[in-house]
């Protein structure tokens, strides 16, 4: 059940990704429409973060390619915003909330130039959107998990992009914050931005997303929520490991080389 669209915002073409010796994503092929709030669902280890990181160019795929706005990544990088997993950074780093959000403007600033009044204004607007203005001068180490997540989202907003890729932005977030952030993301989608979110909770996914991608080492489904979220596809996605694929992966891992790499 994979729905393709014409004039996609994002096209992933036959993408296979391997870590060292073993493949973690097999032949993912999908295209996504603009102005939608899109969820990436799947069990742990299904390759959700890997897909996002490959789109962002943080991992080099074994084969296949990604096109964004019909162009290669380096040409359109300033139009894409990325939210890494919260645990990927050391929150004891000496920085204030505003310091971190200003980092969102670094991409447009480029090397050498320092952030000035304009950049700080952009960052403050972003903080206001996520309701973190009172925390602007707070040290990031003093924030709760949910607040840290909102700081990361504010940093993404400060990038003023058209496509947003968010890796588990709701991990460790309480219900009230989750609803508030989803509201914000829906507003962004309504304003024509495309928001791609790696997500865990199938329940809230049903409520909020327009379009759903289901992964389990391979692409199970990609399409409008109403068509994709069916019992059969959910079972295919979450119903345990795919025995054969896992065994093949193990087999490849035991080799000294990766036969999929060309």
């Amino acid at each position: 059940m994979i729905t393709h669209v014409s004039q996609p915002v994002l096209e992933v073409h036959d993408l296979t990704v391997s870590y060292e010796q073993h493949p973690v994503l097999w032949n993912v092929d999908l295209s996504l429409p603009a102005g939608k709030l899109i969820g990436i669902l799947g069990p742990n280890g299904a390759g959700k973060s890997t897909l996002i990181k490959s789109i962002m160019g943080l991992i080099t795929p074994t084969s296949g390619y990604v096109k964004i706005f019909d162009k290669a990544l380096p040409e359109v990088r300033s139009r894409i915003s990325y939210v890494p997993q919260r645990e990927s950074v050391d929150w004891n780093f000496p920085a204030s909330v505003l310091d971190v959000v200003v980092m969102g403007t670094y991409g447009k600033l480029g090397l050498f130039r320092r952030p000035g009044k304009k950049e700080i204004q952009v960052a403050q607007n972003a903080l206001e959107q996520v309701g973190m203005t009172p925390f602007a001068s707070r040290q990031i180490a003093e924030l709760s998990g949910g607040q840290q997540q909102r700081v990361f989202i504010a940093r993404a907003l400060a990038q003023q992009a058209d496509l947003y890729l968010m890796d588990e932005p709701f991990a460790g977030v309480d219900m009230a914050t989750e609803t508030a952030i989803f509201q914000l993301l829906q507003d962004m989608a309504a304003a024509g931005k495309t928001v791609l979110v790696v997500h865990h909770d199938i329940h809230s996914a049903m409520n909020f997303f327009d379009w759903v991608i289901m992964l389990n080492l391979h692409l199970v489904a990609s399409g409008p929520k109403e068509q994709v979220v069916t019992e059969e596809l959910l079972r295919k996605t979450y119903g345990g490991k795919l025995n054969l694929l896992t065994q093949v992966t193990d087999l490849i891992r035991k080799q000294d080389f990766n036969p999929l790499k060309r």
Binding site: G57, P84, V89, D90, P94, V100, R114, P115, Q139
Partner: protein, 430 residues
């Protein structure tokens, strides 16, 4: 004392030069060190500083004398080789990072010592100067050498200031940096070069064995005092410069003394002091606040005992009765009693103690907090009435007036606690 005045009034131009050099060197290495400290790469600095020894010896052997250009180049190349090897090994083997760094450190240093011994046997009269590279000798640096080391330090400081934003991103969130198109690999390469340079500039003044201390200790000490990167860099630089100058002074007064170990001694003192007295995170302030809390606890318990006796229609308590309630805290209770007497919360008549009007009001507050918290635990967290007392014993000393107001509101100004005892309030609040 004469030496002290002579040294610190800078009458001797060569001393001025050395102090200037040490200052630049201290700031440069503390800057680089702060970033590698935050990046949790402290050990790499230690490995590099040991690994430059073979390069120093080869540089010396090639030049046949202590030519700073040869020595700096040799040290830099051998440090670069060690850095490259450690990242290559990490990428291409399954060895853990700490074992790689430990191996690189000992192998390079071992080879360096072999080279040094061979050179010492060669009978070259210049060799005496080479020994100072092990533990450093700031006073022995010639002016021409100072220009090389000072110039390199200045380069480090300038590059770091120019790339502040990029290095901050590299340490805090390299993935994000890469995602927005920053050449993080290139930035890391520049940083590694600066790190090796920071080691190289210190080899003559501080020595290869202890150079890592000058990289990491200032940042570690400064971290106790601040949560801001700019302040952290400033303090680390300051600590480093102070210790550097003091170490140089010792080498000046006692010419046989190597500079490096003394710099480390002063650095350690600063670090120890920071660890002990830095506000909030220091050991002493934490101990003091703990003691204040315990004192407050004993005082509150005494007040509560008096209030409960009053509730049972007993206006006074004898010292014996009070001690019987808290048999293990006799001296603490006595101290609290003295304090309460001074502050006018209680009055003493012969051997019996009673609450004053002021005391009744304060004791009532403590008892009220205790019972409000018990009720909160019981009603909102569904904890059985016989399990709530212990937690309330802790919380009654901590709850602020704001929290008290919140509790009152949430519980809708209750009259009874879970044990069906009245929650006491002032007459005008009832």
């Amino acid at each position: 004392m004469e030496d002290f005045i002579y040294f610190f009034t800078f009458q001797d131009p060569s001393i001025t030069w050395v102090v200037l050099g040490i200052t630049l060197l201290g700031i440069g290495s503390a800057y680089v060190g702060t970033f590698s400290f935050l990046d949790k790469k402290a050990l790499l600095g230690d490995a590099i500083s040991h690994a430059v020894l073979p390069g120093i010896c080869l540089g010396f052997a090639l030049a046949g004398e202590k030519d700073p250009r040869y020595i700096v180049t040799g040290a830099f190349l051998s440090g670069a080789l060690a850095t490259f090897l450690s990242s290559w090994l990490k990428k291409n083997t399954k060895l853990s990072e700490d074992s790689i760094i430990a191996s690189i450190l000992s192998i390079f240093f071992g080879i360096g010592i072999v080279f040094l011994t061979v050179l010492q046997k060669s009978g070259n009269p210049e060799i005496a100067g080479l020994n100072s590279f092990i533990f450093g000798n700031a006073i022995g640096i010639a002016e021409a050498d100072l220009l090389v080391y000072g110039g390199l330090s200045l380069t480090i400081i300038l590059v770091l200031s120019l790339f502040l934003k990029e290095f901050r991103l590299m340490v805090f969130d390299p993935n994000f940096g890469q995602a927005i198109g920053f050449p993080i690999q290139g930035i890391r390469f520049v940083f590694n070069v600066l790190m090796i340079l920071a080691v190289v500039i210190g080899i003559q003044a501080i020595g290869v064995v202890l150079m890592a201390a000058l990289l990491i200790t200032p940042a570690a000490a400064a971290r106790f005092w601040t949560n801001r990167l700019s302040t952290l860099l400033f303090l680390a630089g300051l600590f480093s410069v102070i210790s550097g100058i003091m170490g140089t002074y010792i080498s000046f007064v006692l010419p046989k003394m190597p500079t490096g170990p003394w710099v480390v001694v002063f650095l350690s003192l600063i670090a120890l002091l920071s660890f002990l007295v830095a506000p909030k995170s220091g050991l002493l302030p934490r101990m003091l606040s703990r003691r204040r809390y315990v004192k407050q606890m004993h005082r509150d318990h005494l007040m509560k005992a008096l209030y409960k006796a009053k509730e049972a229609q007993q206006e006074q308590m004898s010292l014996e009765e009070i001690h019987a309630l808290y048999p293990f805290h006799r001296s603490n209770i006595l101290a609290s009693l003295q304090q309460l007497l001074r502050q006018g919360f209680v009055a003493q008549q012969d051997q019996s103690i009673s609450l004053t009007a002021k005391g009744v009001s304060d004791a009532m507050r403590i008892v009220r907090l205790h019972r409000l918290w018990e009720l909160y635990l019981n009603e909102f967290l569904h904890i059985a009435p016989d399990h709530v007392h212990e937690s309330a014993e802790q919380m009654e000393h901590l709850l602020t007036p704001e929290l008290e107001a919140m509790l009152e509101q949430r519980l809708n100004y209750p009259t009874l606690d879970p044990h069906q005892v009245t929650i006491p309030r002032e007459a005008h609040d009832r």
